[in-house]
């Protein structure tokens, strides 16, 4: 009944055509944060009957630049690209020539707080341990992440090193193609720590494969109440949320964009979405249209300042 009503409402709003078929472009490999977000949102949209069919396309390369170029080139108004904080970071670093200004921001949908993980039998017991070892031998404290050098996982790693009072430029960060591969790297023992979004490690954490040293959130995470925030653990001012949201090509007409925003808002209320969100440990961060653009601008300024300070720009 609810879906019928929704469909009716959407039809009235003139977005029925938009809601029939969507194409989700995922700028990274399988199992990473972008991939999980796109497929999670897609599953909620289709299972709740808001969208009839969604096609997924994984297109990694160029730190997401390949997918951005593809989105602009194909210029299909029914194509959404999932993206996150890296789009801001990488356009600051000129990894790709475009920025969010060349696209139509639809909405941010979730936020994922960063965490620092170690293997379950690691002898690094807490953040203070990490601080001491990193100070003594920074080349032996290798931090893995699922993003390119200078990407969000690297920024968080450097922030943590700085937060515990060490020199952030000594951070030894090793990039992996996707979060899943970085996790495999951590378990193989070739790296000692993993900087990652909570959502990407939550399964392995709950199955007891990894321990979390701290979470870069303002308060403790609901699904990991025993894990201290980085502030509590002794790293000052380390709060980092990686938003995830969707973009359409530029020049999508305003009605269609508004329809997309309504679609996502409708989705947030569905039980399917709430189950998916809970399962992945995602925090709701819905910011449609203008709000989203403002968030992007603010973050661009914030990260730009930070990166110059850390010597990453």
């Amino acid at each position: 009944m609810r879906t019928l009503l929704t469909a009716l409402l959407l039809a009235l709003a003139g977005t029925a055509a938009a809601a029939e078929r969507l194409h989700f472009l995922i700028p990274g490999g399988a199992g990473g944060g972008w991939d999980r977000t796109a497929r999670g949102v897609g599953q909620a949209l289709t299972e709740s009957g808001l969208v009839a069919q969604i096609r997924y396309e994984n297109m990694s390369g160029g730190g997401g630049g390949r997918a951005i170029a593809h989105l602009i080139e194909v210029d299909n108004p029914h194509m959404w690209m999932v993206n996150s904080t890296p789009i801001v970071v990488r356009s600051l670093q000129s990894v790709f020539p475009q920025s969010f200004r060349d696209l139509t921001p639809i909405a941010s949908i979730i936020g994922d707080y960063s965490v620092l993980a170690v293997q379950r039998d690691s002898d690094i017991r807490n953040l203070a341990d990490f601080a001491a070892r990193q100070r003594a031998a920074p080349r032996r404290m290798i931090i893995a992440g699922g993003s390119v050098p200078g990407g969000t996982d690297h920024i968080v790693a450097a922030l943590l090193v700085k937060g515990v009072g060490n020199d952030p430029t000594t951070t030894k960060y090793i990039p992996y193609d996707a979060g899943g591969k970085a996790m495999a790297g951590l378990l193989s023992g070739e790296v000692q720590l993993l900087s990652s979004g909570f959502g990407e490690v939550v399964d392995m954490y709950e199955q007891g494969w990894v321990r979390l040293l701290c979470a870069a959130s303002p308060e403790r995470l609901a699904r990991a109440p025993d894990v201290p925030t980085c502030n509590e653990a002794g790293a000052e001012d380390v709060v980092f949320v990686n938003w995830r949201g969707f973009f359409a090509p530029s020049g999508v007409d305003a009605d269609l964009a508004a329809g997309y925003q309504t679609l996502l808002q409708e989705m947030r209320a569905t039980p399917v979405w709430q189950a998916i969100r809970a399962r992945n440990g995602w925090v709701d961060l819905y910011q449609p249209g203008e709000d989203f653009t403002r968030l992007l601008e603010r973050q661009e300024q914030q990260i730009g300042t930070l990166m110059r300070e850390l010597g990453l720009l």
Binding site: G29, A30, G31, N58, L187
Partner: protein, 498 residues
Amino acid sequence: MWEGITMGLTTVFTLQNAAFLMLGCLAGTFIGMLPGLGPMTAIALMIPVASTLEPGAGIIMMAAVYYGAIFGGSTSSILINAPGVASTVATSFDGFPMARAGFPGKALAIAATASFWGGILGALLLLIAAPYLARISLSFQSTDYFALMVLGLVTVSAFAGRDGMLKALAMVVLGLMLSTVGVDPTQGIPRFTLGQLDLVDGISFLLLVMATFALSEALLGIMRFSREQGLADGRALGALRLSRREIGDIAPAATRSSALGFLVGLLPGAGATIASLLAWGAEERLAGKAKPAFGEGAPRGIAAPEAANNAAATGSFVPLLTLGIPGSGTTAILLGALIAYGIQPGPLLYINEPEIFWSVIVSMWIGNVILLVLNLPLIPYIARLLAVPRQFLLPLILFFSLIGVYFVSFNTFDIQLMVIFAAAAVGLRLLDFPMAPMILGFILGGLMEENLSRAMLIYDQSWSFLWQRPLTLAIMITAMVILAGPFLRERFARRSPD
């Protein structure tokens, strides 16, 4: 483990999945039977169908296409002495003579039974080995991955024999070079794109396979066109039944060859082709002077390569599922399909997606049973396809390979590139350069670069990881021994008086 098998069984035994399993087996047999089209092309052609399915159903179907195609390949080897793929070349050594002697039905039945046996035993070994290997694979580091890929590339070249080895190595290097075209994975900078925007995304794997295998095969078919039809011109195939004595005769050979095939399949780079040739060779030596002699229609000479190539195909799923390393062109296409479904094969697959892991394994058993009970009675009908005149068949292959690539990208540039590659492949094949090593080099190139650059970062830009880590060192030494193998054997042979 039992828990896993039950999980796999419940996944496979839905009506829908069973239907796709059957469809996959049939389509695979059908495509694999066509001269020149093997498992790789069969899977590539089925990707559009599979991409519309749920991941579970899609993967089960693709796996079914895979062994269906290997099964189908043996039919054309036996009936018209034109192996569909390299992995069934060994089958034609004894299969065709037996068919010419008036027992084509029996030859087909032996091939089918041995394939079945190889597939079943292979799946049993996979079932036992995979969970352990998955656990071990958790400790594999970037340096080990790099070494494993070196081993794979060396293996595929070393088995080309002493004279062919240099050519095979040259093709491996060509494949590695082609894989570097596009955006650099670590720096994000385009390289070797000749300023072409269409090359920024790199060369599509599907395009390369279709150009160098399907398209060049069809072109070569036109060049050596003949009206010879072999034995498939509607003549009766004879009885498809085997006596108990015959089964007793081939069973030991098939069992030995299955074990050998599975072990060969585990190595990235070695695969069904090498396994079948090794098994035929080993059985020939064991048979001694028994009649009929090997090469003149010996039943065991059909059973050995057929059991081995199926077991090897199953074995090659081990590195794919547990390490995420595709050991052959076929498994590379499967890997691509899995990633498109959002499934990353590797050490964590067994932990995170056990139902996918187990349903693939269980579907292999069911698939082999279906191949035997469904395909064997249908063989006389499917075999009529081989009687279709080549002037109709070849244009169809040309058409499907070009359309297949165009429908993925909708880019005419891809067609042009494909024609260039196909022309180059025809030239290289006429000069006896093998294509498989090039494909493997292309597949492993990207992964190899990724793991090497990560290893260099971890070890502070030093090559010391090659000897500091025992596992890496052991794999590298194995690779060197395999590379030196043909030369050592030759020296040894020269010393011992014969």
